[in-house]
Amino acid sequence: MQPTAGIILAVVALPFLGAAAVPLLYRVIGERTAYFAAAVAAACFALIATQFGAEGAISVRWIPALDVSLSLYVDGLALLIGFLASGVGVLIFTYSGGYMHNEPGKPRYYATLLAFMGAMLGIAFAADLIALFVFWELTSVASFILIGHYRDESGQYAARKSMFVTVSGGLFMLIGFLLLHWVALDVASVESAFRLAGEGSMLASADAMQTALREQGLLVPVLLLIGIGAAAKSAQVPLHIWLPDAMEAPTPVSAFLHSATMVKAGVYLVGRMRPLLVTDEWVLLFALLGLVTMTITAMLAVTASDIKELLAYSTASHLGLIVAGYGIASSADAHIGLLGAETGAFHVLNHALFKATLFLVAGIIAHEAGTRAIEELGGLSDDLPLTAGITVVAALGMAGVPPFNGFYSKEFLFDATYELAAHDGGLWWLLPVVAVFGSIFTFLYSIRFLMLFFGEKPEELGHVHEPPWSMRGPPLLLAVGAGIVGLGGITATAGFHLPIEEFVGRIVESSLPAGEEAHFSYHIPTTLSPPVLMSGVTVAVGAVAYPFYDGIRDGLRAVRDLGPLRPNWYYNGATALMDTNEIGPQIHNGLLRTYALWFLGGTSALALAGYVAATVSIPTFSGLTVTIPLGIVLVVAIIGAAAVTGAPSHVAGVLTLSILGFMVAIFYILADAPDLALTQLVIETLVLVIFLLVIDKLPAFYGGSKRWMLVRDGAASLAVGTTVMVTVLLSTARTPGVPSYLDHSLKSFFIERAPPPPEHGSFIIDSGGGHNIVNVILVDFRAFDTLGEISVVAMAALSIVTLIAMQQRGEI
């Protein structure tokens, strides 16, 4: 089935429109904006649901003259990310309605969150590398704003850090994209060299692209560049450092951006690029990256002292699992590649279900118990029975205990690593070993999280209230989803297959080479196979080790705290210079004159350097003849301007300023520009009135400057003035060339076309209809200039209203 263009476009556009409406809407409906946002997300979800089963590209002509079109692509993977972004979105907005009660900055919060959702949907459906990149960076910006929501020092540090890591990762990715584009230009079967998916795209001729990449020696650079982009976004070691800090954001944001969706963008990219780039180098890079991340961050999660920190590291760890899954393939045996893709695709779904649930549970705990410290929590199940039940399903899924959902995708990973090792032998045997080793820590911290609800309740915790239903409903629904996926394995063992299998199969196919089909199915293992044994070892060792949790944690903490082993140590070292309060205030000293001086001086220096580099010589002018009227006007203008500079009061300055203005008007008359003169006279009068109105309200401040300051500013001004003089001399001595699309100069083009031609009456298309050429240019040929000009005046008016009227009402 072909996707419907209108629907997919609406899905991407709706959240942005919603975001634009939030500031106004918030004034009317207040906190219920949360439910408006939830409704927008629900609408997107419903629209995406109508496209279920669709596959293919749609293209909307955007600027036909330049052959620019907006193209979107729908397939299993795109639908999955679309469902996650909108579906989890509905729950997160509903949950926010309860959680964000009494929190500051709600309009900004909802607008940003909606815009983020739009950007995420954009990433999911983008069929074009440039569009993908733009949406990708938009999510980074949204994440930056949301992490810094509370605007305290640690929030700002965290926001900067995440922005720095993810955006610079994105820039690496952009270079990778450009290299891909460059290679695609030479591949005959690729019609549009920026098109990633759909007909005539890179993915459609993946083999030819791969051959071309390898021939040009660009395969490894492209892999690395795109890998860095994905790793930065999906918090892979050693770029994971921003994710734990990102927990400064309000908890619904952590659940939405930093577990279910935004961090999935990186693994989405890996899954999307897989058919194009999968090679032996791919396997080496991503299988290793994923498994190393999975293990290291699982160990870090054990060291966590805060429940959100634990979940953040755990998220990085599970993203590692997904990356490892997508990373595993083999050129010799397609079955191994299938297992790898199944791991990645299935775990994207499973992880979103259980991890978003757990974040929302963490939000409930923090909200109701008033603390997030693991040490201070315990025995919560008495007070929060429903939440405890939810946590059992989600945490056991995270631990990979059968029959909960995470178990199945972990089985696929074990199977894939085992098969690859059995096939290739040698060092590849490390893969299954590392996978099991990392999973043991996953099991440990999952159980630790679960034990917040059981065991003894600390005295000082007091009675913990149940949260409102708006906060209990969303995690409950997510946990039911996770539970159904888990049940699907049991029913499949009994011979009854849930439609989830079909859906996941479609996602898997997105990451397989073209033409390969995935008959996806998962079930409880009934025979003893190597992966079952690996799961058994994981759970058994985990269960035996759990009583020694505190000891393990302290041991890991000791290792973790060794400076040079921590990526943060390098990050903080590298950014210390910029972050400290030494350099910043030197550059940004808050004085307008500093900025003006740098700007004007810099521009002058660049202009002069340009003239020197181009070795232009100042044209010679003989004589200094000026007509008498012009001479008088110019002299008066300069006297006026000089008088402004030395004006003893504001009123005197304004009056002398208008002398200059009126002289300019007379100059326009002398320069044969009657329209300009008229405009200038009107505007000058208006400016004078406005100046007088405002100056009346301002104090009669007259700042005396020290002599050395006057000398310094005078010298700087003279330098700028000299540059202007040189520029005027150089540019007026030249006449512009004839544009290539015209057979004569622009000037004669307008002069010829402005008046109505004799053979037509007074109304035609390719000519103007007036005798005043300037007027014709403004309304016919360059009407957009006029539109822009009106917009500027409107914007200025609106801004003044906002600045002054809103302040008087005490709104900003």
């Binding site: 402004v644 100059f667 320069a671 300009l676 005798h771």
Partner: protein
């Protein structure tokens, strides 16, 4: 030649504008900006060459006397209005700065 004189005058005007922008009295900064934008407009008109007549044609077709460059005039016309918008906005902003900080001394209203 006229161009040379104009170049000197424009340079001087721009220097005076720059000098005003570097002052600490906010109103003077706005004056400086106004002078700079006026200067830029005159510069654009000067670039048109200052030769030829008023760009208004009588009759059909592009015949008749040589006229001056109409395009720069169209551009400057837009620029004058936009300059007005920015000046008005700058004044509104100055008023707001005074309301918030109770001074228009820029050395005291550091961000």
């Amino acid at each position: 030649m006229t161009q040379f004189v104009l170049a000197v005058v424009l340079g001087l005007l721009f220097a005076l504008g720059t000098f005003l922008v570097l002052r600490k009295d906010l109103v003077r900064v706005v004056w400086g900006l106004t002078i700079m934008s006026q200067t830029a407009n005159v510069y654009l008109v000067t670039m048109g060459g200052l030769t030829g007549g008023v760009p208004i044609i009588s009759g059909h077709g592009g015949q008749g006397t040589e006229v001056t460059d109409p395009l720069v005039q169209a551009l400057v016309l837009t620029a004058i209005v936009i300059g007005f918008g920015t000046t008005a906005f700058a004044l509104g902003l100055s008023y707001r700065v005074y309301q918030t900080n109770e001074t228009i001394d820029l050395t005291e209203v550091r961000g």
